[in-house]
Symmetry: C2
């Protein structure tokens, strides 16, 4: 059995999830914390690779003893949650843990991921949203929000999202299936939620940049199908900043396979 941990983190102070040689990463912090707790180096496999400055309300990773697919420990998952938190910086928290079979893969077994993107739309930035939302000062009115909602709905379903992928990325297939794509306004915050079976590199941030172009009238909702079809990155909007992006939820299909025990 390996351990599946559910973590939340404020990404501001990290270079992203993945270990990099010259900057603190979420994975590096988890490596240190797990080694301190279990007394041996562990292999961490994350559900995705969030970029520098991107946040997570839920990020999942498996923990196994280095070189094995097993975590030999008698500790109860709840105890592990508390103990790992004690070894982690305060901006990274493990909030749940559970045993999963050794074959479980935190990335390949993902059924669906949901992201949230937060835009603060007011001439003056809210200091409490600093590094937690994209400050977009130019007013997007109710009509603009409505158009963004319409544009967002064109993305639903299976499409080739090449136009919404960072240039130079390499991937086997550029087809993804979006199952949720909604825009809502809460006071001065514009919230975009998107759920899919997977995402291309920078896909959510490019979608958001494009939706904002719709909101301010640079594009029309009806332009979205043509942008998708073009498969040209240059047809879509700018890449919205990392600070507004949150990995919000990760789902796995195999909740009922034998040996799967929820903490």
């Amino acid at each position: 059995m390996k351990l599946l941990i559910h973590i939340a983190y404020l990404g501001t102070n990290y270079c992203g999830y993945q270990v990099q040689s010259n900057a603190p990463s979420i994975q590096k912090m988890l490596n240190c914390a797990t080694e301190e707790l279990f007394g041996y180096p562990c292999d961490l496999v994350g559900c995705s690779r969030t970029d520098s400055g991107v946040h997570a309300h839920e990020f999942c990773a498996t923990v196994a003893k280095h070189g094995s697919n097993d975590l030999p420990t008698d500790l109860h998952p709840d105890r592990i949650v508390q103990a790992l938190c004690a070894h982690l910086p305060e901006d990274i928290r493990v909030f749940a843990a559970e045993w999963v079979p050794s074959e479980f893969h935190a990335r390949y077994d993902v059924l669906e991921k949901e992201y949230l993107y937060r835009i603060y739309n007011h001439p003056v930035m809210d200091p409490f949203e600093l590094n937690r939302a994209w400050h977009f000062p130019q007013k997007i009115d109710a009509e603009g929000i409505f158009k963004m909602q319409k544009a967002a709905s064109f993305l639903l379903g299976a499409h080739d999202f090449s136009a919404f992928m960072a240039q130079g990325s390499r991937v086997e297939s550029t087809v993804r299936t979006i199952r949720k794509s909604t825009v809502e306004m809460e006071n001065h915050l514009i919230l975009y939620r998107v759920a899919a079976d997977g995402f291309l590199y920078n896909m959510v941030r490019i979608i958001v940049g494009t939706l904002v172009d719709v909101g301010r009238g640079k594009l029309q909702p009806e332009d979205l199908p043509a942008i998708l079809e073009s498969k040209e990155r240059t047809r879509a909007g700018q890449t919205a900043p990392a600070c507004g992006l949150y990995l919000d939820r990760v789902s796995y299909p195999n909740k009922n396979i034998p040996g799967y025990e929820h903490s």
Copy 2:
């Protein structure tokens, strides 16, 4: 005429509103920004003195040329808002400004202030609430919340709040009138809102410490009247941490006096 500015700030990096010799304060930042913008030193008068680590969703202060009760400038309030923001750290924002008569006093003329106190009630702290809520890990259940609501309602009206004032404080009268005192639960957050004509030193934080004692069963709601009557600080609960406290709203009575112009 003087200028009344409405500001919001994240108090984490400051020693409070008031200028202190060895630490950055909100007032000091405003002093620097106004002098840079207007080209002469200004007198700032704030609506209250928030403590180190306390936040503000709305804090009001007047700005006048040093030694006068006037701000000689042709700048439109909206321009001043933008310009002051450009001279301030990002965790302090001026979000509105308006002209008020020279006699206006930011502290003495306050009609009502409202505070919000945020408690994060879960074994594992939400990293996004770090320094923004009091982490209280011991579970307060629905019954506990109900008792806190009941206890909070005993504080409504005019009372001598000596029992809820930091020991050693000196003040002419310890009677204050509370017009709102509510507790609500939103997911894992317990929110306490209190509005009054004024507050004694640490009053909100001592009320919150006492309400939490009610929530966890150390006190009963019916103990509140006796604590008030005792006027003894030791009968009330602990002083809740500064990081959960927000000055939320400041009201002045004289919105209709001549020369009062809203930006």
